[in-house]
């Protein structure tokens, strides 16, 4: 059975939305995705969401009585997991059509869950006592090791932000659209050396939703799920096996490529979750698009920029487009838009797109291989 993404949409706006609660963002995204799919809530019998307020409240607010629920919550990659799990559930006959919603008042914190972990948690005992202030001071901690072992330069790290801003400048919905230079990155505030503000993701409000179903039930040109993979590594970044490579990135990518039976040459477009500037570097290497230590030069040479041979993060990414706290939904949305030929910064001839999602600080990962045609 061919499983497809039959509907995909974001909230009407992303960015600063203090007039929206977290729940409202879920519901608006859900309505938009249903309209995009040409379906109603009564066509949906499965639901998957993560975080506040969870699948039961979202389904109830929509007036749905689901036959299948998934609340897999593994950070910003959760939505990629949901797509994979929904496909398995549809193939197993547990449900027919799944709605996956995301809404997060990440910036305005309206109706949002509480931040923080207890002092008796793993994080609370073995990382927070050292003055960690969220992802900008922990997700980033692998970078100096990577730089020492591979020779990645500070300039190359900054080039990641520069390259993604080129895409964002073509996307009217992107929060930051002015072109920037390496010097601009270096001139921005040091957040956590070696990371400057422009090498860190945004914090925004917003949401998105997907409809996953069988090809037979899709009402509009479908986006096929050719393959997927998922994995996890360590719940705290200090226990990551090797600071220069993500095991979860590698394993989820290998699984997705194997299921889809594709090679790297088949890939026209790539989305890599970019909470911070080093993450696309790890993603390019761990997915096997370039060799170890080569990603920094690859990006700096423009290969991932507009006109390059491997368009990467074409919405502007978490660094320039939007990042609600769980960015994975937006990476999937951009792949769908590119495959439908509807993206703001459309790349000509995109037939196959790969999405790599990250959860936590290199904690979980999932990869999707999406296409607008069957192989």
């Amino acid at each position: 059975m061919n499983v497809v993404i039959a509907g995909a949409a974001e909230t009407d706006e992303v960015g600063r939305l203090p007039q929206h609660s977290t729940l409202q963002l879920h519901l608006e995204a859900a309505r938009n995705a249903l309209a995009d799919a040409g379906l109603t809530k009564d066509d949906v019998d499965g639901i998957a969401t993560v975080g506040t307020p969870g699948p039961i409240q979202v389904a109830h607010a929509l007036g749905m009585t689901p036959a299948w629920l998934d609340g897999t919550g593994v950070g910003g990659s959760s939505f990629l997991f949901h797509v994979r799990h929904a496909a398995a559930a549809i193939r197993a006959g547990l449900c027919h059509t799944v709605l996956i919603t995301h809404g997060e008042s990440g910036r305005s914190r309206v109706g949002a869950g509480r931040w923080g972990m207890g002092a008796d948690s793993l994080l609370g005992q073995f990382e927070l006592p050292y003055g960690v202030v969220g992802p900008p001071t922990s997700f980033t901690i692998t970078a100096l090791r990577y730089m020492k072992e591979t020779g990645l330069t500070h300039e190359q790290l900054a080039e990641v932000a520069v390259a993604q801003r080129r895409w964002a400048s073509r996307n009217p919905r992107a929060m930051f659209r002015d072109l920037i230079t390496v010097e601009d990155v270096f001139a921005s505030r040091l957040v956590a050396y070696p990371f400057h503000l422009l090498e860190c993701c945004l914090v925004t409000d917003g949401g998105g939703a997907l409809i996953v179903t069988s090809e037979e039930r899709a009402r509009r040109s479908p986006v096929y799920l050719l393959g997927s993979g998922e994995s996890a590594e360590s719940p705290i970044i200090s226990q990551m096996e090797d600071f220069t490579t993500s095991k979860a990135f590698r394993l989820s990518g290998e699984a997705a490529f194997a299921e889809a039976k594709i090679t790297h040459d088949d890939v026209d477009h790539l989305m890599i979750y970019d909470a911070f500037a080093h993450v696309p570097i790890y993603g390019l290497e761990d997915l096997g698009f370039v060799g170890r230590g080569e990603a920094g030069a690859f990006i700096a040479e423009g290969h991932t920029s507009p006109g390059g041979r491997l368009p990467l993060n074409t919405n502007g990414g978490g660094l320039s487009y939007t990042h609600t706290g769980m960015y994975g939904m937006f990476a999937i949305q951009e792949s769908v838009r590119q495959l439908r030929g509807e993206a703001a910064a459309q790349v000509p001839g995109v037939e196959l797109s790969v999405v790599l999602g990250n959860g936590g600080m290199f904690a979980s990962a999932a990869t999707l291989v999406l296409a607008n045609r069957l192989p």
């Binding site: 207890g118 002092a119 008796d120 793993l122 609370g124 005992q125 073995f126 990382e127 927070l128 006592p129 050292y130 003055g131 960690v132 202030v133 900008p136 001071t137 922990s138 980033t140 901690i141 692998t142 970078a143 100096l144 090791r145 020492k148 505030r189 040091l190 957040v191 956590a192 050396y193 070696p194 990371f195 705290i236 970044i237 200090s238 226990q239 600071f243």
Partner: protein, 135 residues
């Protein structure tokens, strides 16, 4: 005040160690490898025949960031390094680096370090300082 960890039953021996001025980690009696953080069975081979041992306290600097937006309790610390060190026994842990100015020039990766302990309320947390250097 800087954040203080709250022990759980499986981590209590670690925090009892730091209170006594010792860095205690676990070692598997089956595969003879050390591991960290505290867990009731070996993450390498799965054996539950594990023991607590006293680590040497010697380590090297594996990686770090220098945080410019202090956490609560760190307001007077200035930009400070949040570091991951690799113990001589092969395991890594997050920590802070003390006894040296926290600037990139003074914190080369792989520099040699030794453990010291800082009291926070009822518990002591392990920190690391340059080995053999005057404080």
């Amino acid at each position: 005040m800087k954040p203080a960890p709250k022990p759980t039953p499986e981590t209590q021996p670690f925090w009892d160690g730091t209170a006594a001025g010792e860095l205690r980690i676990q070692r598997c009696q089956s595969c003879e490898r050390h591991y960290f953080y505290p867990r009731p069975s070996c993450p390498h081979c799965g054996s539950d025949q594990v023991e607590w041992v006293r680590a040497s306290g010697r380590a090297t600097l594996y990686s770090y960031v220098i945080n410019h937006r202090p956490a609560p309790g760190f307001e007077d610390a200035g930009p400070y390094a949040i570091a991951v060190v690799e113990l001589e026994e092969g395991v890594r842990m997050m920590t802070n680096i003390v006894g040296v100015e926290n600037v990139p020039e003074k914190l080369p990766l792989d520099m040699e370090l030794q453990v010291v302990f800082e009291r926070r309320g009822d518990v002591s947390v392990p920190l690391f300082e340059p080995a053999g250097e005057p404080r």
